[in-house]
Symmetry: none
Subunit: 457 residues, 2 copies
């Protein structure tokens, strides 16, 4: 590979690439909302056309029981490894809309940052892989490795149909290595390769008290208020030290070595800076663990939403019939999502106050994932980052879940390299999501280089 | 008083009275809707004419910043007490109109029930007081007590202008006793005198954690989740026995006598029937008190709404920036709304978990009201009911608040007797409002008798 030629190419096409990415971002492919079903499909079709233009072959929009999967490949590097790139073209909902400075589907560049829903998570990063392939094919007429792409439209709703797709297409998806860019860097100019992700398990708790809303003056005090009951249940999940009190929650955790914990402790991390960035005055979490450890190697239980009663302006003296809460747990190696859901249910049942009935529904689950951090494919990714960013690469874990990573690991039995270009400040899942364009630029170079590194694995 | 003569009189004039009441009910005096502004005034004028015809004096339609107040008096019972009658001539809106069997402003008698908006609440009951005065003046040429009437046109919108009117007309409204017929009986044939209402104090709690919504996977476990914090705060308001744990909340409560509690216990009340009606399997509330006591004589703290995080369908793994809750307390004698709000604030501050900031706003307040159960004016009302209905009168309190009652109590410093003739089945505020005419007939006799009882107070 000639880094100079690559560099020149990406500079020359920068505006073209950005305009193309903006077109991709204008499609409101919110996978969780049924009114956007056709938009999700449009994003898949857009991606297909973009891949064909890049020179990828066998490009197709494959049906699933939900939103489609986009597949593509280039298989002419005989005797060389095959790299499977996974990404997603669906995005999170955009509410609260009024907090966006510019429309979530009206991409705008401000201060070298591209603002739009999906700019970073994950349309932007997926797009970079397509453009790296296009660049190498344009410059060299060939790729250093065989490539396969599998880009789904349901990541933000927990990839409900991808495992079946992967299961049914094991031959098609045969590869040596999976590369995913859907994670973050350690900070501006500080690249990271992620080798572990937390898993996911969640439930919705629906409580019902009286059969209709009651006047809280006439009945308050004598009828269990579902909002009281849900508060009690929710408050019972943690003790005062931030430890989760669900019976058996921490059973069978795979121990984290002192060496790994020492590596985490050595990472450049400024707690005060982090607190400032988040706008918090105190950090809070499980006693005995650092901020990094709490988010990477410890399981969590978070309430994601509570609803019930009157939420308008002013006062309404209602004792509501119903109250609901959504909670999700992040899981670490050793925890099984089904087992955790069963334990959550048992906890809710045993903490249910008198006078309400409880109904629990399950959300999609994801297993935790871990690739040894000294795996050659991981170390090679570190080298590619270092060549472009000119600083040592951090080897990290991540607090989030990419459920499909665990499924890939399980079904295809391949090492997974998580090489992301996002920054934690980029408001994934929140208003004003954006992508720092210096990482778009550098990332294109890192990805291109990694294909050459992968050729030698 | 000659009960026989009164009886004969009301029988003789029954049709005339009903026709007059129907004319009153035909006026759509909906106070909340600006298109009915002139109708509200027409109702006031109609009432003025009816009062003049009855023999009341100094009848006037007094302006306020909103709908007018109708005043009238008869002050020739020298040396005798003065009874001030409060009522309202405005009515609730009528939607959904299609559920009315006959028009809301087309009064019809079916099965000895008079159907129309306002038939029971409160035109019918107000009208009865005017007709009782007319009857006594017709029969005796005089009243046993001095009388004043203050009938407002804004009760259904929360009496926004009446407190100012009362404040500015303290001399005009000077009396010994206030009588209000705007509450319900215990059931068919079961008269009740209400002598206590709970007051109201409430706050909204707004918690802020991180400055924006965060991804619960990336930050969960290391950043305080405002939904956890609000659950902890809300769960801290009660102990497991339903006792409110706010410091000093029960200070200075006016004790309820064993005699009063015995009266409550003796009231016909079927808990199983009540539970069935409410659709609950268990009753729940402060330990040591009955269902009736929990709603009438004990203060409460109810959560009326909780908001925060994601409330849509499915899952969104958000750690929200904000969480809010609305709570209202019902207060009993001895509790001051301002003091309770201060105590609620102190409780929230002292139970605020680490990592969130709290902001508290106050709602409108209302003082509790109580005329002592053994007050002669209350007991006299019970005797009047008993003479007519031939069963013992229930002495009750009510869980709700009627802010204007507390205002009368506070500004004028008078005992208030709530002697109602409505039934809870009569659809106040709902389609097909009606008034059981046996209570119209009996009520005229009770009210007439009560004026003689009041003469001896």
């Amino acid at each position: 590979m000639n880094p100079q030629a690559i560099d020149t190419y990406f500079k020359e096409y920068r505006e073209t690439h950005l305009e193309e990415l903006k077109a991709f971002l204008r499609i409101p492919s919110v996978s969780s909302l049924s009114e956007h079903k056709e938009d999700v499909r449009s994003a898949a079709e857009w991606l297909k056309a973009s891949m064909e233009k890049a020179g990828l072959e066998n490009v197709k929009v494959d049906e699933t029981a939900g939103h489609p999967v986009v597949y593509a490949d280039w298989l002419h590097a005989e005797g060389k490894p095959t790299v499977l790139v996974y990404g997603h073209y669906d995005v999170q909902p955009v509410d609260p809309l009024h907090l966006w400075e510019t429309g979530p589907f009206d991409p705008q560049v401000r201060d070298n940052k591209l603002y739009a829903r999906g700019a970073s998570d994950d349309k932007g990063q997926t797009f970079m892989h397509v453009k790296a392939v296009e660049a190498l094919l344009q410059l060299n007429g060939e790729l250093p490795v065989n490539m396969k792409f599998i880009i789904e439209g349901e990541e933000e709703i927990g990839s409900p149909n991808l495992p079946v797709y992967v299961q049914e297409n094991q031959e098609l998806l045969k590869a040596d290595l999976i590369v995913i860019s859907d994670t973050g860097m350690q900070g501006p100019g500080r690249p990271a390769v992620c080798y572990g992700l937390r898993g996911l398990a969640g439930i919705q708790i629906d409580l019902t008290g009286p059969k209709g809303d009651l006047h809280s003056g006439l009945y308050g005090g004598a009828v269990q208020n579902p909002l009281h009951a849900i508060s009690e249940i929710l408050a019972s999940f943690h003790d005062e030290d931030g430890v989760i009190t669900v019976d058996g929650f921490y059973d069978n955790l795979v121990p984290v070595s002192d060496e790994e914990r020492a590596e985490f402790a050595a990472l450049p991390f400024d707690l005060d800076e982090e607190k400032k960035a988040l706008g918090i005055t105190e950090d809070f979490g499980e006693k005995g663990y650092s901020f990094i450890e709490r988010t990477w190697i410890r399981p969590t239980l978070e309430i994601n939403g509570i609803t019930g009663g009157f939420s308008g302006e002013g006062i309404k003296t209602v004792l509501p019939s119903e109250a609901s809460a959504k909670i999700t747990c992040r899981l670490v190696p050793g925890q099984d999502p089904d087992d955790i859901v069963a334990k959550l249910k048992a906890h809710v049942e045993s903490h249910k106050p008198a006078g309400v009935t409880v109904s629990i529904s399950e959300f999609d689950k994801g297993k935790p994932f871990l690739t040894p951090y000294d795996h050659p494919a991981i170390q090679a990714a570190g080298r590619s980052y270092e060549k472009v960013y000119k600083v040592p690469t951090a080897f990290t874990r991540m607090g989030g879940s990419v459920p499909i990573v665990a499924a890939f690991d399980e079904i295809l039995g391949l090492p997974v390299v998580l090489m992301g270009f996002g920054l934690s400040s980029e408001n994934f899942h929140a208003p004003n999501e954006h992508f720092h364009l210096e990482n778009f630029d550098q990332g294109l170079r890192v990805i291109s280089d990694y294909l050459f590194e992968a050729a030698n694995l």
